[in-house]
């Protein structure tokens, strides 16, 4: 016993030397500086009020992304809506790099929006585009415009048209709702309601199915729900199991990793979704849970307390070889990987508090992304890797908050009912 722990200790020392586990509370260090951009209110040629304020949505989208610092409309002296009305000097004095102007017009099907993006330094128009849509699609059009501008100016795909699924519950904990909303929190819809807990919602990569754990049969069981039809199916319910949970779809959508526990030993399994054949991946007396696929579809990150407290590990689903990933601190759990596979985002306990942290998978460098809230959990990374949405505790309620992966921009998502938990960010819809 002594021999084993000595080897383990030496192993830790060696790995500490190669892993830079320096905790940095992010303010401005090392991140991309936000680009100053002004979205001028779009003109509207009609008489009745528009159902949505397009330019306001674009302003919020781009500002919340962390990549842009959007200029307050109150500071705008002139508000051009056509190219000819633009005086570049107005904007260079205000230190803006880009200006977005536009016009909304009525269209037989609904509305047409034309917008321009102008480069203040070049004193030239760099983007111009026109979109059309129905009255009910106004928010979708606005998000489309945000995606378009974002992608063209940053080179990164935009996520403003993506969705969130999350759980809301009341204080008495006898009503649990699974909800679906836009990535900015608008247009919330109920997709499943229960008197028993719902946890761990997960999106299929094609964005059509949500997997989640429901306790409707008095213990945790995994269900699939098809978004379009509302059809539900109990997928995993092993005999003799205390619970099945933590579903995670593989990047190709063909497999589901999950946890099953019998007699106090949670382990990780993988199911082939088409054949429903199950394969056991871990067989260790420790708590092994929270599997999450790496982008190559061949490895799984997971949480295990095999070393004493919860830490994050990575395993090869074919060879079953396991490698420890986190070494800093004594509680690191619930891994999520960014779209480029470079960073791990997870929950870390530091100084008695729980925060969202990121670890660079190549250098091992650890950053704490959240600092103002205390009981941070359930991080979900945007499909373009730019932002992390998570649940935080505020005034004894659970709310959703978001932080850019660099840790700088923070905002809260409005919630009108009870406690909001476990956000899951959708894939980009094709």
């Amino acid at each position: 016993m002594v021999k084993r722990s000595l080897v383990f200790f030496i192993g830790i020392l060696l790995s500490l030397q190669s892993v830079q586990a320096e905790i940095v509370i992010e303010v401005t260090q090392g991140k991309q500086s936000a680009i100053p951009l002004a979205v001028v209110p779009f003109s509207w040629s009609g008489s009745e009020p528009l159902p949505e304020d397009i330019s306001q949505i674009v302003h919020n989208d781009l500002g919340h992304s962390g990549y842009f610092r959007t200029m307050p409309v109150a500071n705008m002296i002139n508000k051009p809506t056509t190219i000819s009305q633009v005086n570049y000097a107005d904007w260079s004095i205000q230190r803006q790099d880009y200006v977005v102007i536009g016009r909304v017009e009525a269209d037989p099907e609904g509305y047409a929006i034309e917008f321009h993006v102008l480069d203040v330094h070049l004193k030239a128009e760099v983007l111009r585009h026109r979109v059309k849509g129905k009255k009910s699609q106004m928010r979708d059009l606005a998000h489309y415009i945000s995606d378009y501008i974002f992608e063209n100016l940053t080179g990164i795909v935009g996520v403003f048209s993506t969705k969130l699924v999350y759980v809301t519950t009341n204080r008495e904990r006898n009503r649990f709702n699974l909800n679906y909303a836009d990535a900015d929190g608008a247009r919330e819809r109920l997709i499943f309601s229960s008197r028993e807990p719902i946890i761990s919602p997960a999106w299929s990569p094609d964005g059509k199915t949500i997997a989640y754990v429901s306790f409707e049969n008095r213990q945790g069981e995994i269900f699939f729900q098809e978004l379009a039809s509302g059809k539900r199916e109990r997928v995993i319910a092993f005999k003799g199991s205390s619970f099945s949970s933590a579903p995670a779809f593989s990047p190709d959508g063909k497999s589901l990793a999950f946890v099953n526990s019998e007699l106090g030993n949670p382990d990780i399994y993988v199911m082939d979704i088409a054949t429903r054949k199950v394969r056991r991946l871990t067989n260790h007396f420790a708590i092994d849970t929270e599997p999450q696929w790496d982008i190559d579809g061949e490895h799984l990150f997971f949480t295990s307390n095999r070393a004493g407290g919860p830490q994050i590990y990575r395993m090869n689903v074919n060879s079953l070889a396991v490698k420890r990933i986190t070494f800093d601190g004594n509680y690191n759990a619930r891994p999520r990987v960014t779209a480029d596979g470079r960073k791990l985002v997870y929950v870390k306990q530091a100084n008695g508090r729980f925060h969202i942290a990121s670890q660079d998978l190549e250098t091992g460098k650890v950053h704490i992304l959240t600092s103002e809230t205390e009981l941070d959990e359930s991080p979900s990374v945007a499909p373009n890797g730019s932002m992390v949405v998570y649940a935080a505790s505020e005034n004894e309620r659970s709310i959703l908050a978001a932080v850019s992966v660099d840790g700088d921009v923070k905002f809260r998502l409005p919630s009108k009912y009870g406690d909001v938990r476990e956000p899951a960010w959708s894939p980009i819809f094709k």
Binding site: S200, P266, I287, T289, T303, Q349
Partner: protein, 172 residues
């Protein structure tokens, strides 16, 4: 509480009845019959004591079984000493009633991740299960489930609330 006083008063009443019964029976100078009577009295008194002793013990056991919630330290699944007596009582009951079944519902406080806490809650239920089995309960009588942090007993983020949420509930 009411049952105990009831039993007590019944016991007293019965005892009183005995004394009055003995006083009315026969005269002092009847010789042997008196001695027999005395023996009868003695035998009766001893039997009474035995019966009320058993009843009192059964009451005490049942009272212990009133405790159905057991608590744990943070990130631990070890049963606390102060819960063991009650758990033993549950185990005895289950051992004596093979058709009786319980669900052991495990819980955790809200700190940490949801899925990890689901596993922690189960570990706590398993601890209780092991203790019950070691004291006579059979595996078929015990069902283990976990609600993790989803069903707190007390809402709030105080240490006191947390302590009350780290629990296993024994449900018949």
């Amino acid at each position: 509480m009411q049952t105990t006083t009831l039993y007590k008063s019944l016991g007293l009443a019965f005892g009183a009845l005995l004394l009055t019964a003995c006083a009315s029976k026969g005269d002092i100078d009847e010789g042997t019959s008196q001695i027999e009577d005395a023996q009868d009295q003695t035998t009766q008194v001893v039997e009474d004591a035995k019966v009320s002793g058993e009843e009192l013990k059964a009451q005490a056991e049942a009272a212990l079984r009133d405790q159905t919630v057991f608590y744990f330290a943070f990130d631990q699944s070890t049963i606390k000493e102060d819960g063991k007596k009650a758990l033993k009582a549950h185990a005895k009951y289950l051992a004596a009633n093979s058709s009786a079944k319980v669900t052991l519902e495990g819980h955790a406080d809200e700190r940490g991740t949801i899925e990890y806490n689901l596993a922690l809650g189960e570990r706590r239920s398993m601890s209780v299960r092991a203790y019950l089995m070691a004291n006579g309960a059979k595996a078929e009588q015990l069902k283990v489930v976990s609600y993790g942090e989803e069903r707190p007993a007390v809402m709030g983020s105080s240490e006191d609330a947390y302590a009350k949420n780290r629990r296993v509930e024994v449900k018949y």
